[in-house]
Subunit: 173 residues, 4 copies
DNA sequence: GATGAATGAGAATTCATTCAT
DNA sequence: AATGAATGAATTCTCATTCAT
């Protein structure tokens, strides 16, 4: 990926995360990226192609996450790690996650791809832990995860993330 | 509000919730509502005015919710009721809540107004219950709430809501 | 003409004179006149009909002017009177004349009707005064008239009308 | 300025001069100019931006006029030259001046900028010529100028411009 | 006579996308 | 690869006009 390509992706990600995919004209992306509008289409075919490229890059990050979690020894550790994912998102990755969460509400395409691997890991961990209704238990934990993500990504400046994590951990001693 | 005005609001709410505010042209709303496009602007000034009207109507619903919860006797009951709100949203109100949640991600204007009263109730209930860090505790519960809302509104057809609630309650017996 | 009809005409005249016929929506007229938009069409058929009604009323005023001038004894007095017409327009008639002058530039329909009688009087007066090229002389005087009208109607607050008239008269002792 | 940009400006000037700014849709300009409607907005932002561009180009023409007049040796020559400006407007510049004069009547924004330099030259010439009330004298001459412009631009085909100028000069021999 | 809801045509503007250079 | 002019379809919004009450 050339420097300009990267610049387009960065600008698009920032703007999409901020205003939503549909609210961002390609002209705004080109301007922010300091390139001509035509270049976006030469590199990414069309606006959706640009979105796909962004999501593709994100998925690779997620794959890394998944393997880290799989590397944990106990099922308990794996479950906890998943639930606490939002607390460990690097600030530089906030735009990507904001975009993922905003797309959830309009488009189920990306969502499944993102959460499916986590759900699979969760269920097998919970089965290993002898939970009777592992699926419902998994859904509950994924709900927590979504809730924490929502809070952290949207109220990052208002809510004390670390205190929140502490409070959470006390419950799950 | 005339019949046609109501029809516009209904169609807009449905479409906004489904595709997102920015992805719905006013022509689509008019068509769905069976009115001329101009009428939207005559009644609501502009597209944002229409959105505002929808949100205004929703806020009244929320106010009702708030007073119901305040009517509960014990702080424990109030806390539980808030956390479980998403499980009790009527299906006919799903579009409104989907819209609220989707707007959160591009526009924090409405959000504060929505969650502020709940947070206030939570904090005073938690103080009454002698929690040391009531604020963090409240944030945690509101995070749960957002997570449950996300799951129920988005995966309503895939996830068994009642089972999920049962699983949740077992934890907070 | 009923009170509301008069109110419509007044508002329309004021707004047309100020912003130009094409720049004034009928909705603005209705609002300013304090009547419903439909009423304009009931009384005047359409927007052009309203303009015609205004111009018709103005023409009657002009006819009065014409007879006053015809009543003057000497041809010199008549010529002078015509040239000085703009200096004697009542302030309340400014909007009407501004409208006439603004329409000149888009629409030759009204202009002829307004200036034709004056030109006829001028020519016969000038013939009587033994001018060789009465027509050119008349055009020159009508040009003066237009110039004074332009100055007085547009720069009424900036230019001292009376001083200007004095200066003019010194030339034509 | 590209060829198409120039074509837009030409068409707009012609149509605005003819029918008035508010009466000309951008679609008509695009059609006349043989370009897509969108191009107008890409180059000039909006309809008013197009008008501004036209006026800006015209002001440069005026500046040329002003310097020519300033180059004249005697104050008498300068005064006469200003008064006679309308007689020397090139036919190709008629549309621009028609536009200026038609805008005067709804919008005084441009007017001052146009006539101010002329008034300044006039006053200093008249002072040099020992006129007691130079300002009023200047206003009178500017009124003449406006009158001649009105006649020539609007009745150019009906009135004999040269004869009129002759008649005028006889007065000011 | 009077209102105000409603319409439909059209006007200004936006925007994804193409294309010559 | 990169630009920027250009397009055409859509989109938001306006406005004269009609019509039921």
């Amino acid at each position: 990926m050339t420097e300009k390509q990267q610049s387009i992706v960065n600008s698009a990600l920032k703007l999409f995360a901020d205003k939503g995919f549909d609210a961002v004209p390609t002209s705004a992306i080109a301007k922010d990226a300091g390139v001509s509008e035509g270049l976006i289409f030469r590199h990414f075919q069309n606006k959706v192609g640009l979105l796909n490229a962004i999501m593709q890059m994100g998925k690779e990050k997620i794959a890394d996450n998944v393997s880290e979690i799989l590397a944990l020894n106990t099922p308990e550790a794996r479950v906890t790690a998943i639930m606490e994912i939002p607390f460990y998102i690097a600030e530089e990755d906030y735009p990507f996650w904001k975009l993922v969460y905003s797309l959830k509400w309009q488009n189920d395409y990306y969502d499944d791809e993102m959460s499916k691997p986590m759900k699979d890991i969760l269920i097998s961990a919970l089965v290993e832990m002898k939970y009777i209704d592992a699926e419902s238990e998994a859904d509950l934990i994924l709900s927590y995860l979504d809730g924490f993500a929502t809070t952290i990504l949207l109220k990052g400046e208002v809510v004390d993330k670390n205190k929140l994590l502490q409070t959470l951990r006390k419950k799950y001693k």
